[in-house]
């Protein structure tokens, strides 16, 4: 959040990567990309490249974490050492521990935990390249991986951030905007249930700007939601054609 003389948004309202204020980065989703996982997905969200794999329902390890009345969801968000400019140590950082927790809590409302007592679902998220907004893209991919594994869900969960850059509330901040902007508001949303499952913020926002940012992020989520559904359909349509 440095003060920089160069503007991130030009006079015409175009951002430094050529997008308009309410424009998403290009998103590419692929389901079923790993043969050893029960479910998997790959997302390219701008320059973010993230793999997610889901395993289960299966036995809980370590055993003492098992719950007699519900399923245990475990999530590990992890960044590859080469995913950022300066090499990141592969050991889990405090940031990764926190993100693993909030991503887990963003996915739990979508699952029928009480229907699978004494089992566990493990979701592993590997960030191969990071360019701002990785937790949101990770949630989008992780939800697809769980859906692909066949575990029933109330809805898909979609992640998308909004924030403030210069004086403008914008959608889907990329790395430079995240670092030099005023505020970042990552949101995870279940569109069919109108439920927000993750909300964080850092930076400074007026209450009205905050409201605008949340609404903008939800609109972004709805767009990515359509792509998620399409990606799921694509996988299973292809399988069908082969069988015929």
């Amino acid at each position: 959040m440095n003060e920089k003389t160069e503007k991130l948004i030009d006079k015409k309202g175009i951002r430094s990567d050529g997008r308009k204020a309410d424009e998403l980065r290009p998103v590419k989703l692929q389901v079923g990309v790993l043969s050893n996982a029960d479910g998997s997905a790959y997302i390219e969200h701008g320059k973010n490249k993230i793999l997610a794999a889901a395993f289960g329902p299966r036995e809980v390890h370590p055993k003492h974490l098992m719950q007699a009345d519900r399923m245990v969801l475990k999530v590990r968000y992890h960044m590859a050492p080469f995913s950022v400019q300066e090499r990141k140590s592969p050991a889990p950082s405090r940031r990764e521990v926190e993100l693993s927790k909030v991503i887990k809590e963003s996915l739990e409302p979508a699952l029928f935990l009480e229907l699978y007592p004494r089992t566990g679902v493990d979701v592993f998220v590997e960030v191969l390249q990071a360019d701002g907004g990785t937790r949101c893209a990770a949630i989008t991919a992780a939800a697809l991986a769980i859906a692909d594994s066949g575990v029933p869900m109330r809805d898909l969960v979609v992640g998308c951030a909004a924030g403030k850059v210069d004086d403008t509330v914008v959608l889907d901040l990329y790395d430079a905007e995240d670092k030099l902007g005023i505020a970042d508001v990552p949101v995870a949303y279940m569109p069919s249930l109108n439920a927000i499952t993750l909300l964080q913020m850092d930076g400074i926002l007026e209450p009205a700007e905050f409201e605008k940012a949340v609404n903008m992020a939800m609109d972004g989520c709805k767009k990515i939601y359509e792509m998620q559904k399409e990606a799921l359909k694509t996988k299973y349509m292809v399988v069908k054609e082969v069988e015929e």
Partner: protein, 263 residues
């Protein structure tokens, strides 16, 4: 942690909340009594103990010397750490910080950092080489719920109590002089956590309510009414309307708290 409170009692909490009441006789949006003691650890540069109802948090601030981060060569460094020590609850175990204590520390850190309440540039001794490092260590002594708010208030109170050693730079060498100056604090972020039980919002949940609560949302706000940090937690969800309601509650409660604390 669900074994702590019996199912009957949990249901009682839920039923009362439906009627707009709470087991400890508070209204849904009432916070517990706050008591602050400052400066009780003489060896620390700053300290404060906060009681929020029966929740008790001690924060010690140590000021050391270190190198600045390469991207902020003119600024001091802030580190916040939280320990959920085993004296505070039968559910806390000794060992390295778990996800709960890391989240607690990072949420408190975000409130302090993003509000820019510490004048970081005044902590710079020699740009790019030597700065003051402010270590904020949160020690939870008794867990009776809402650790985030109690810790955030305690951290702020401890920072307000913090003194930095006087120094001078002579021929490129740093000399610590007699006496102290107060840590330059510019504003006072206040953190308010709202919990959701069966669709009802409550502020300052205590430990038994935390067992029933499906999610919580924390807002850190500044005197000027801006929001500087947010964290949603717990395995439930909020509707967009509930989020807005919670943000209004947090802003109102912050005004109330500031009056009480004279911040």
């Amino acid at each position: 942690m669900s074994s702590l409170v019996t199912k009957v009692r949990l249901r009682q909490i839920e039923q009362l909340i439906e009627k707009g009441k709470r087991l400890d006789d508070r209204g849904l949006l009432d916070t517990r009594e706050i008591k602050i003691e400052q400066g009780l650890i003489e060896k620390a540069e700053g300290s404060a103990r906060v009681f929020l109802g029966k929740t008790e948090v001690l924060v010690g601030v140590k000021v050391g010397l270190g190198e600045p981060f390469p991207d902020t060569p003119n600024e001091g460094v802030l580190t916040v750490n939280a320990e959920l020590v085993p004296v505070a609850s039968p559910h806390f175990e000794p060992g390295p910080p778990d996800e709960n204590s890391i989240e607690l520390a990072r949420v408190v850190d975000r409130g302090i950092r993003e509000s820019k309440c510490i004048d970081n540039e005044k902590l710079c001794i020699e740009p790019g080489k030597k700065v003051f490092v402010v270590f904020v260590d949160i020690y939870v002594l008794n867990h009776d719920g809402n650790l985030i708010d109690a810790s955030a208030i305690a951290a702020m109170a401890a920072l307000l109590n913090t003194k930095m050693p006087n120094y001078e730079v002579k021929d490129g060498e740093l000399k610590i002089k007699q006496g102290y100056t107060p840590l330059p604090v510019k504003n006072h972020p206040v953190t308010v956590t709202t919990g959701k039980i069966n669709g009802h919002l409550i502020t300052d949940p205590w430990i038994e309510e935390e067992q029933v609560m499906d999610s919580r949302i924390t807002f850190a706000t500044k005197e000027d009414g801006t929001i500087c940090a947010i964290q949603k937690g717990g395995s439930g969800y909020f509707t967009p309307q509930q989020i807005l309601e919670a943000s209004k509650i947090a802003l109102d409660k912050a005004v109330e708290l500031r009056k009480k604390l004279d911040w």
